[in-house]
Point group: C2
Chain length 626, copies 2
Amino acid sequence: MSERNLYLTNISIEEALARFQKELPPLTTGVALLETAHALGRVTARPIFARNNSPLYDCSAMDGIAIISHKTRGASETSPIALCPGDFVAVDTGDPVKPPFDAVIMAEELQEQDDGTIIIRQGAAAWQHLRPIGEDIVQGEMILPSGHKIRPMDIGVLLSGGITQILVTNPATVAIIPTGSELVEAGGNLKEGDIIESNSYMLSALVAQDGGNPVRTPIVADDYEAIKERILWAAEHHDMALLCSGTSAGREDFAIHILREIGQVVVHGVAMKPGKPVILAVVKGKPVIGVPGYPVSAYIAYENFVKPLLVGNKAKGNIIQATLTRRLVSSFKHREYVRVKIGRIGDKLVATPLARGAGAAMTLVRADGFCIIDQNLEGVDAGATVEVSLIRNLEDLEQTIVSIGSHDLMLDIMADMMVGANLSSSHVGSLSGLMALKNGETHIAPIHQLDEITGEYNVSIVKKLFGGGKMALIKGVRRTQGLMVQKGNPLGIKGLADLTKYRYINRQRGAGTRILLDYKLKAEGINPEEISGYDRDATTHMAVAAAIHGGSADCGLGIQAAATAMGLDFIPIGQEEYDFAIPREFLGLPHIQAFMDILKSPQLHEKLAGLGGYTAENCGEVVYID
Amino acid sequence: MSERNLYLTNISIEEALARFQKELPPLTTGVALLETAHALGRVTARPIFARNNSPLYDCSAMDGIAIISHKTRGASETSPIALCPGDFVAVDTGDPVKPPFDAVIMAEELQEQDDGTIIIRQGAAAWQHLRPIGEDIVQGEMILPSGHKIRPMDIGVLLSGGITQILVTNPATVAIIPTGSELVEAGGNLKEGDIIESNSYMLSALVAQDGGNPVRTPIVADDYEAIKERILWAAEHHDMALLCSGTSAGREDFAIHILREIGQVVVHGVAMKPGKPVILAVVKGKPVIGVPGYPVSAYIAYENFVKPLLVGNKAKGNIIQATLTRRLVSSFKHREYVRVKIGRIGDKLVATPLARGAGAAMTLVRADGFCIIDQNLEGVDAGATVEVSLIRNLEDLEQTIVSIGSHDLMLDIMADMMVGANLSSSHVGSLSGLMALKNGETHIAPIHQLDEITGEYNVSIVKKLFGGGKMALIKGVRRTQGLMVQKGNPLGIKGLADLTKYRYINRQRGAGTRILLDYKLKAEGINPEEISGYDRDATTHMAVAAAIHGGSADCGLGIQAAATAMGLDFIPIGQEEYDFAIPREFLGLPHIQAFMDILKSPQLHEKLAGLGGYTAENCGEVVYID
């Protein structure tokens, strides 16, 4: 158990980074000579001075004629002057103007005569409508300083200044070393105990995005000498190394011992969550960063400790203010990065927290940003204004329908069918969805809430929670709920009466499917306490199906589409109505209109038919709730 | 002169784009199958569904032991339970947990005995510290919708979900066609009349930056049939074409006639400045955009009409609010894009307009953003809050020293030496610089302002303008001013007395060098009106040098370093002091401290010695002005 004592420090991110950078020699990556036209995004290694003027000579700024200004003196409406050929030359914009010509008169001010002379009615000032040599770029002037990242307009000006090749700094090469005997490459045949190695690829893409050159090595097994050799090789041949530690404390322990043997461990353990067990070390003068194994931890560690080495300390990203929808509890022990979804509801941006587990990589994909809870806070109350570091474009978020409530596969399909707008769903169950709607956290709440007295769906709960006149339901689908069981139904499960005999997996509290189960159990006089697994819950139909497919549960209630998707057998229990509760004021929003159009579209109905268990007859109709 | 009638329309940008997009069939670029690991930045062509669960099986979320929960029931501090081998198995985070084991107890809660048993003091709930199969990703669930741009975290999750290859849409290929007989490639020997073709390279880089695939063709001469053939080829083989029209109305006329012959011209002329004569046409169902020839016009036309076709209409960029420092006059006739520099002065962001000529490409490089003046405005007053569309990172701007005033080559050198901060200079002359300082538009004003009465530099003008106690001077350099003349001095110019005999080029009003000239002329009794070119002005020393080098002027007053840089002869007239006026309150800013450190550094003094004509003895010292 001694490994845990290795987390010696709980210092702040800023202090950890400062200590680390103090121990690192400056990054020197060499230079390369590139064609200017191919240097987009590269960084200048030296200041760049113009090789020629632009314009290259005094030239006309207009289409017209070049003239000798003193010969036009005195021309006016009442005493026009006729210029003979020789007193002028026709010029287009950009044409050279040479002595004795010293000014240009615009074409629209001229009156051409049949005899070849031109009448002018206004004198021209010397240098009028001329672009002098070097007006834009002067030979010898510095066009770009060193350390400048080349943009498209820089390329244009460099070429105009005669610079066809430039010295740029090489990108830092970053060795990325996945370690762990349990790791396998994606795409092979998987067996129990295998973990697909994916962090190194995410880290490679992050490095590439920040202008580095990622070099991912093959997976190294848990072998002290092999890992040591790989790190030494990386420090020898690359500018930086990331050691992807796998997930176990046992292996992290390994990394720290190796790094202590062959280099200097500057920091082990930082007051941040996720990502605490990060290691910041120096080996042969090169930074070596031990990146924790959980994907979200790896991401946070990268952003805080790898990115600053590549792009400098100042990049803070896009920070917005948003209203937090739920209380977030945190700890004085660390700064916490909570993934959130962001939506524009009415006149405010709201931030809704997602699952906080470091292993929940999918929430990193679903997140719109991170709400950062500082180390000196024990938490943040619902309704508070928080800062969110966005990982998605704010403009996209402005065009997003926020949906919080019950889960159905049709939401994913609809998200895919949205054009020019987005559908962002959080799956918390019907009742929590309605609460979110009440708190102004969402545009719509997908629900399938049975009234246990009337047997009616959705209308009565909305009426009860919101009172009169403000709400509507956009009708969704009728869908078939039933028991999902192993393919071929080896246990011969016939219906709810059998649940007490087998291992059940339930849905979370507040989920419509759980309420349906309770209703049916009551009707059949079955005591929930007799059902093994009644307290084991999952948050989506698909998660229930996966547990049954994986063999850790024998059956669970859910929708037919989930059983079909996972190749399970299905015993129908009944039909229910899955609709979208919405405040009437949102019905006119353009992205809600688009949402209703999709609900009514034959394309959607066709796809639902393919999933199985759906009836879509009133889909997209609006029912106003008195 | 009939070409001008071809600008038939003066419609708004929005209407022009809407008309254009209405005529365009949807962009279909085909799909490609890519390795997931190499798909960063590409766009999904289909929704992507997980091929496997993640985790792949129920697994431990902790390091510890897997146990059978009902065998731990009742354990407590007072009645601990001993688990025998077989009742538990050791597990690391991520290890599979299989029946009969159904929960995990953390390593830190265990007490290992010498006899191999383990003492526990708390019962374990079923499923405790287990990550159920599919907790993160469920097989069959949609990981990404179609039309999604792949980010690093997406790559990690796709691989975890077993997706090793994905279908992505191909980037749009954009043919970029430079036309014009006067155009030459950069890097060759230049002769009078040549114009270096650079717009196509800027446009190529813009296309690449926006995810397109630019295909630049060789320059096409002004030949109707040749240009027509090239456009037809582009429309046949590419998804889009940009026709770079050169700069003359004659050639733009060419383009419009060709496009009318072989396709449909949807828009010719848009109410924007720069960029008005843009052409939006459709040839063989493909968009063909006639891009005006001036670099800034080309940039504005790209941003408004090409970018939306590549990335959609919604990308508005990074808009900030800033205080305008000078009145901007515009016209009801168009929406104007004015390049501005942005700086954080005290507690506000200020926007200072740069030169507005469409040919001033260098200002596109120097600009921090565009201030957009709407078509319904005749101008914006100084002090008004304006919206600025940034083309540089706001964080970089926050760390920038704003310098407005007199020009010296040392500013470029210092800009290059700044580390972790930036120096942004506008060259308007000493007096305008001091005015900017007074108006809170700049941190420092570089000046060399002679007091004509005392012969003293800089102190008295600052005292006079600012009154007591608030200002300081950071001492710069003593530099040699003199007459720049052609190499070898073929005209035998000896001094100021000769100026009435030759073609002079002056500096702009308010420039210290012009004030020095006036002072010297007065001292020598020379009447400025007798000097040919006294009214012709340039805004930098280098621009004066370029005019002399180019032969359009015989001599001009300026600093020795400019003459040296341009290979001119130099006749010294006198020395002057070039210092930096600064409000005392700014002296403590970290980037001003860095600026003073550079002024004091031997590295700078060495570089100044290389330029010639500088003395740096008090460089970086602070003189407080009472």
